[in-house]
């Protein structure tokens, strides 16, 4: 399946991926309203690790055997059997953070806005074109199928 891969040679740690991720997961999909008006504020679904020179963005790896799905106490975390995308059903999530406890990539973001929800990358399933990849100014995120059967 197509996944988002980071190219740490070019990531500047600028944070634009986070800005567009939040906008993509907002109600209005308007970048200014999403950040200034919406309540609860939309949360980005990725982490950026920064170093002196090297940086990279990390999204959910949509694992074959997702530990988050296995551990989820409500059944809100699910892996789509057809597309392979792992998503969290916000309505059923109670923010227990078991997924945070088990994800070996630390990919889950804790949304503690109004209701506690585990926020995670869904490969922008609604549009099929991940916003972070689209708006990265330096080609540091690639959306491709690496054909490794995963």
């Amino acid at each position: 399946m197509k996944k988002i891969y980071a190219d740490e040679r070019w990531c500047l740690g600028c944070g634009l991926c986070k800005v567009y991720c939040r906008t993509s997961h907002s109600k209005t999909k308007d970048i200014i309203k999403a950040h200034k008006l919406e309540d609860p504020k939309p949360v980005e679904r990725l982490h950026i690790e920064t170093g002196d020179v090297m940086n990279f963005a990390l999204q959910c790896r949509h694992c074959d055997d997702p530990k988050c799905v296995q551990g989820c106490i409500t059944g809100a975390m699910q892996k789509d059997p057809v597309t392979g995308v792992v998503t969290n059903e916000a309505e059923r999530c109670v923010g227990c953070w078991t997924c945070v406890l088990v994800c070996p990539f630390g990919a889950i973001v804790r949304d503690e806005g109004k209701k506690k929800i585990a926020a995670k990358c869904d490969l922008c399933a609604q549009t099929g074109e991940p916003e972070c990849v689209k708006h990265c100014p330096n080609n540091a995120l690639i959306y491709e199928d690496r054909g490794d059967g995963k």
Binding site: R9, W10, C11, L12, G13, C14, G15, L16, K18, V19, Y20, I31, I32, H35, K36, D52, V53, H135, P137, N138, N139
Partner: protein, 501 residues
């Protein structure tokens, strides 16, 4: 402590209705202008550090930022501008020589903008470049005065080495050290894709770049940085740098802060030491000495590669060029006073040298009068800004043009002129690893290719409009130009008529 009289050059205007406090501007400014104030939750800007490079403006996702010139108003004075006053304050503070990057920004006349181009109407009809082939390729190198053939039509005359370019545009000399490794990589890849050449400048050549050799001009400058036999043989052409348009009469200067491991290795100098190229080559004190160096380089490369000599455009350019042609150079590059630099004394950059348009015209004219125009190809450099400057340069007599500033602008440069600080926010004029990564060669090379391709199509259109289908037919074809807003003397030096004549 005395009062700081130097006021900020620029003001940062932020539209608070658009700012989403994402801090991208803060993270991306190497001059640390922006930051998030924890108490107010708003972004604040220290405009004293701003150099107007527009990195924050370009990166801001909501276009909330604008940089304005801080035009502190003095009592009107036609003689003393605000800039002159500020420069005195700076020198009163530091006692130092004022430094600048990029080319002469002063309002001297730009002759390209005072020449217009002919087009066909009625007789000698236009040619449609979409239907007819347009030859924009040029061949650089010394041409023998006549060709001899045997009775079967095979060439008997031994040809000096020639280089074919697919477009009459090459990338100018910009040293590794003044610009980043990623910038060089992008220039090399673009040159290869476009079928032209890029120039190493005086910074030597890293081993990893030898693979682009067929599209490389290796430069030998007064500091002889990185010059060794393998280096000389790695390129397709050699260039002796006598002078540079931005700082005629001076040598190169790379501050020690920009000399890291890679630069040290390429230039063969200790890490962290200032790389100062002397003003003259200390083994060239006469035209005979230049001839000796030209032939030493030809010997070292088995006479397989053309040797170019680059001079700054100065008062006696025509006589100098004549001497250089007779000294055995295959190509002469003339760099006008608008040429860029990573670092030069401001006063030199702004006051020394002459416009390339005038130098080019006078050199071409002199060589023709002496009957030796065929012995060298002429390359014009120093402020070639668009495809029409290329067309006009060729019409004045150039075989091809070098572009430096235009190439950097294509890669993202915003001409803030602070290259010498090494904090280029676009990853171009810097050696800092964290800043260099901002220039992704994949993206930058494509932008260079796109720009030159666009220029090439514009040249095709213009040639076709003139009714000619080859660059060769435009070369030195002064009748295709007319002057506007030029006086008699200027017309005479340029060798063109006035519009309407």
């Amino acid at each position: 402590m005395s009062l700081n009289l130097v006021w900020p050059d620029f003001l940062v205007e932020r539209d608070e209705n658009r700012c989403i406090q994402c801090e991208v501007c803060a993270k991306q400014c190497a001059n640390e202008v922006h930051r998030l104030d924890k108490d107010t939750g708003l972004m604040v800007s220290d405009e004293t550090k701003c150099v107007d490079c527009h990195r924050c403006v370009a990166m801001c996702p909501t276009r909330a930022l604008k940089i304005r010139v801080n035009d502190l108003e003095f009592k009107p004075n036609a003689n003393w501008s605000g800039d002159l006053i500020k420069e005195i304050y700076k020198q009163a503070d530091s006692g130092a020589v004022l430094q600048s990057g990029m080319g002469n920004p002063k309002p001297y006349p730009v002759y390209w903008d005072r020449m217009v181009i002919n087009a066909s109407q009625v007789t000698n009809p236009s040619i449609d470049p979409l239907r007819e082939p347009m030859e924009t390729g040029v061949i650089l190198g010394r041409k023998p005065p006549k060709l001899e053939f045997d009775k079967n039509g095979r060439l008997l005359t031994k040809m000096p080495p020639q280089i074919k370019l697919d477009v009459p545009i090459m990338f100018s000399a910009m040293s590794f050290g003044s610009i980043s490794g990623n910038a060089h990589e992008a220039l090399a890849r673009a040159a290869t894709a476009l079928g032209t050449l890029y120039n190493t400048g005086e910074g030597g050549l890293a081993r990893e770049m030898y693979k682009y050799g067929p599209n490389t001009i290796v430069q030998v400058a007064s500091g002889r940085f990185g010059v060794h036999p393998e280096y000389l043989n790695a390129g397709a052409m050699l260039e002796i740098k006598i002078g540079q348009g931005a700082k005629p009469g001076l040598g190169g200067h790379l501050p020690g802060a920009k000399v890291g491991d890679a630069v040290s290795k390429a230039r063969m100098i200790p890490k962290g030491s200032d790389a100062l190229s002397p003003a003259p080559h200390h083994d060239i004190y006469s035209i005979e000495d230049l001839r000796q160096l030209i032939y030493s380089l030809k010997e070292a490369t088995d006479y397989l590669k053309p040797v170019s000599v680059k001079i700054a455009a100065v008062h006696n350019s025509a006589a100098i060029a004549s001497g250089i042609a007779r000294a055995g150079a295959d190509i002469i590059a003339i760099d006008g006073f608008r040429g860029g630099t990573g670092s030069a004394p401001t006063r030199t950059r702004d006051n020394v040298g002459i416009p390339v348009e005038l130098a080019l015209a006078s050199v071409d004219q002199r060589l023709r009068e002496e009957g030796i125009r065929n012995e060298v190809s002429l390359v014009a450099a120093g402020g070639i800004r668009c495809s029409m400057d290329v067309v006009k340069a060729i019409a004045l007599g150039a075989d091809a043009c070098y572009i430096g500033t235009a190439a950097l602008v294509a890669m993202g440069c915003h001409l803030c002129q602070t290259c010498y600080t090494g904090k280029c926010n676009w990853g171009i004029a810097t050696q800092r690893e964290d800043l260099e990564k901002r220039l992704n060669p994949d993206i930058a090379a494509q932008r260079l290719i796109n720009m030159v391709t666009g220029w090439k199509h514009e040249i095709d259109e213009t040639l076709g409009g003139m009714g000619i289908n080859a660059i060769e037919s435009l070369k030195g074809n002064r009748l295709m130009l007319r002057g506007v807003g030029l006086n008699e003397k200027e017309l005479e030096v340029l060798g063109i008529k006035y519009a309407g004549e």
